[in-house]
């Protein structure tokens, strides 16, 4: 690499056949440029990008000792790479090169030949002024760890883990609940095909457990993420289970014997009870119970009990377990933290929490589930079968006071419920909807089918659900009041049961995960993809991908497709094995930085960290994308993007206005 102090600049003006030359007087430009300071040679040639053209540059570098090169030809978007390579071939750093675009910006867009020549002169002179300030830059290659971290063990996380592990990579799957499975594990049937969720889900859960390439961390959370693409260092916190996973055989005796029995089951949406030592559901993976420390008599109340420990034959109970921290070297991260159903309590008009017979859709899923609290019989709290059921769409969705967006799955699962209700109970089903959204393979067909099954559809938002009845014969029932926008009449329908089709919102704690990973979230809290159309699974942070509902509401087919796609992105990265860092990235001069953090606030990619000891900002070269937001924010010019330095840009401005 030539790094002599005295700049010797070679300038090459391309005729581009007939594209530049007749319009621009290239010889005149060369003559003019030859006179500029530091210009050793200025030549014009028919096709600079041809081999003889490139050889001309290479020879001049070698023979005349040029240490900087300017080519005036077409757009740098076209041939910058070509000429940089030529410069590199001659043994010069490829960044000692600048291009002036005198074709797209001059000869092709200017009518007058003299004007074109003048414009070309000043642009080439500006390129000469700029290249004077160029500095040699390097790219680095970093190896990629052959491992994937998946956060969230719903259907998205499970699929992403399986696909990545099947490709031969090591996967760590972190799930914060005692079991993997996510929401889908709570369903009985899935639209539109009505296949049994458990039948497709349970084997997949077992696959995940048994796959040699997957290490499962349930009842665990991601504690810390450091590093960058290909080289993340992740700390996982394993919360104490108080049950030794290695000793437990999953016999379940402890759960039968535990005397603390009246704890509302989270898995059954509070519709049944569980014990203090529990697995959330019988098919849980892993089938190892956890002790709920708040309710346990020993751990939570300091009482004598220990019944579980007494009965456990393998002595797996360990009341002294402490959180354990595991550090992982990770190449790529897939975020699959999913969603949570909106809690409709604050939407008072629906009476949720006030009227026992108003259910959320997730509660209904459990009520309808063969392994649920009623063993799959749809029963009211009094044990009777409902005769008429109202299903209310868009609860909390498409509502300017709530979630503005459409939650995408509620219409479909509402109709799934309608079908199941008709089939199981013969009850009359009334659906109150704004409009039906069924854009998916076999979805419209499912809508038609449900209509044919006699489900009544009322188009209109529900104004209120009340326990006041008009007809004394309906005493004890609920009345749904809505305005039908089709008939423009108010309808009052007495029903036995109401199901609220609540919308989806980001899972609790998404904000923290976002902060740990440096991911931004949109106005509704979903993680932002890199590009809505062209990079829907990537994120602004290189090496971190999204799958499933954490990116936005979607159904299972879309979730699974995304999970496979995200795994594909991760696999592509790992298979290549190296990442090349960009040369045009930010650098921060620690001697100039005053530690104001303006750059940190400005960086979309969380690529700058603060060194508390020195009180200066430090760029993580692997995360930086070179956008320059930090440079523009830094008053000290401590932060600046290489190849776009103040001197380079202002040198260009100065020359253009000379």
């Amino acid at each position: 690499m030539t790094t002599q102090n005295k700049p010797k600049i070679g300038v090459y003006i391309c005729h581009c056949g007939m594209n530049i030359a007749p319009k621009v007087d290239v010889e005149e430009v060369a003559r003019y440029i030859q006179e500029l300071d530091h210009v050793t040679v200025a030549r014009d040639y028919k096709f600079m990008c041809s081999n003889p053209g490139q050889d001309m540059i290479i020879n001049d570098i070698k023979e005349l000792g040029l240490n900087r090169v300017v080519v005036a030809s077409c757009s740098p978007r076209m041939h910058e790479k070509t000429f940089r390579n030529a410069v590199r071939t001659a043994g010069l750093n490829p960044y000692y090169f600048q291009m002036a675009n005198i074709r797209e910006q001059v000869s092709w867009v200017t009518k007058d030949s003299q004007e074109a020549t003048e414009k070309a002169k000043s642009m080439v002179a500006a390129a000469v002024a700029r290249v004077f300030f160029h500095q040699p830059l390097d790219t680095r290659e970093v190896t990629v760890a052959k491992s994937v971290l998946v956060i969230g063990g719903g259907i998205a996380g499970m699929q992403a883990a399986l696909t990545s592990a099947n490709a031969g990579y090591q996967v760590s799957l972190v799930e914060r609940e005692p079991s993997i499975g996510g929401h889908m594990a709570k369903f009985d049937k899935t639209f539109p095909t009505l296949d049994c969720a458990a039948c497709i889900m349970t084997p997949k859960m077992v696959d995940v457990l048994q796959h040699p390439g997957i290490t499962l961390y349930t009842w665990s959370e991601v504690e810390k993420v450091e590093g960058f693409i290909g080289n993340f260092e992740v700390t996982v916190k394993k919360k104490p289970r108080y049950v030794d996973e290695k000793k437990c055989t999953g016999c379940g005796t402890c759960m039968q014997k535990c005397p603390t029995k009246k704890i509302l089951s989270e898995f059954n949406e509070g519709l049944s009870f569980r014990t203090a030592i529990y697995t959330p559901f019988p098919q849980a993976v892993p089938n190892v119970p956890v002790i709920d420390a708040t309710h346990c008599r020993v751990l939570g109340q300091n009482k004598k009990c220990g019944v579980c420990a007494k009965f456990c034959e393998t002595k797996a109970i360990d009341f002294d377990q402490k959180p354990e921290f595991v550090t992982l070297k990770i190449g790529a991260i897939i975020t699959a933290t999913g969603f949570q159903a909106v809690n409709p309590t604050s939407l008072e008009q629906y009476g949720y929490g006030r009227f026992p017979e108003v259910y959320t859709s997730m509660e209904f899923e459990r009520l309808n589930n063969a392994t649920g609290p009623t063993s799959g019989k749809v029963l009211m709290k009094n044990g009777m079968v409902p005769k008429r059921v109202a299903i209310i769409h868009c609860v909390g969705s498409r509502d300017t006071r709530h979630k503005k967006y459409c939650s995408r799955v509620c219409c479909m699962y509402s109709m799934k419920f309608a079908h199941l209700l008709r089939e199981k109970t013969g009850a009359e089903v009334w659906e109150f909807y704004i409009d039906i959204r069924s854009p998916g393979k076999l979805y419209e067909e499912f809508y038609n089918r449900v209509q044919e099954e006699g489900v009544r559809f009322i188009r209109g938002r529900v104004a209120e659900i009340t326990d006041m009845v008009e007809d004394p014969g309906d005493e004890g029932r609920l009345t749904v009041i809505a305005e039908s926008t089709l008939t423009r009449r108010t309808v009052r329908v007495p029903v036995d049961m109401v199901v609220l089709s609540v919308g989806l919102e980001p899972a609790r704690g998404s904000e923290d995960i976002g902060r740990l990973l440096g991911l931004s979230r949109d106005g509704d809290g979903w993680f932002n993809e890199l590009h809505a159309k062209l990079a829907p699974l990537a994120t602004p942070i290189n090496g971190i991908f999204l799958a499933g509902c954490c990116q936005g509401p979607k159904d299972i087919p879309d979730t699974v497709a995304q999970a496979m796609g995200a795994a594909g992105e991760a696999i592509a990265l790992l298979a290549k094995g190296i990442v090349t860092t960009q040369a045009e990235i930010s650098r921060i001069d620690p001697d100039l930085c005053s530690g104001c953090k303006s750059c940190i606030e400005s960086c979309t990619y969380s690529a700058i960290r603060f060194d508390e000891a020195r009180k200066v900002a430090v760029v993580n070269e692997a995360l930086c994308m070179g956008c320059g937001s930090c440079a523009a924010a830094c008053p000290s010019s401590a932060a600046g993007v290489k190849h776009f330095t103040d001197k380079q840009v202002m040198g260009e401005i100065e020359a253009l206005l000379m």
Binding site: S602, T604, C627, S629, I653, L657
Partner: protein, 145 residues
């Protein structure tokens, strides 16, 4: 070239444009042979978000009659939101230079997408015309930089 009736004033205009959208649109205008006056001098930036106020001040004090900033449409910025960051910063720069007698329209920000060759041509023609009508920059005769 736009001709002024009264004198031979040739405006000098600096355009700072982002690589991904407006620069690409300029290339497209070129390949489509969409002509515009030759007074514009373009500088390729990676994103409008990297434009330091210094560059704009420098251009004006060095004698630019107008400064054009071109970036991606909101939502399309290659770096997510560099354009919005610049837009915010621009409000302050405008408030400053207007106090020193620079007419509001001498600094112009427009979003021109990569496929908008004709828009690029139209914007250049229009800006040059505006600056032409406005006359030379008040900083033109300065003896200093």
């Amino acid at each position: 070239m736009v001709k002024s009736m009264s004198d031979d004033y040739q405006p000098k205009i600096i355009a700072l444009v982002c690589n991904w959208c407006t620069y690409t649109a300029a290339d497209l205008a070129g390949t489509s042979r969409l002509c515009y006056p030759s007074n514009i001098r373009m500088i390729r930036m990676m994103c409008t978000g990297m434009i330091d106020p210094k560059y704009i001040l420098k251009a004006f004090l060095d004698g630019a009659d107008g400064v054009f900033i071109g970036g991606c449409h909101p939502g399309d910025c290659h770096y997510i939101n560099g354009n919005l960051k610049f837009k915010k910063r621009m409000a302050g720069i405008e408030a400053i230079i207007s106090q020193f007698g620079f007419e509001e329209d001498r600094l112009r920000l427009r979003w021109i997408g990569a496929s908008e060759g004709p828009e690029f041509q139209h914007n250049m023609t229009d800006f040059i015309q505006t600056i032409q009508n406005m006359g030379p920059s008040p900083a033109k005769g300065l003896m200093v930089l």
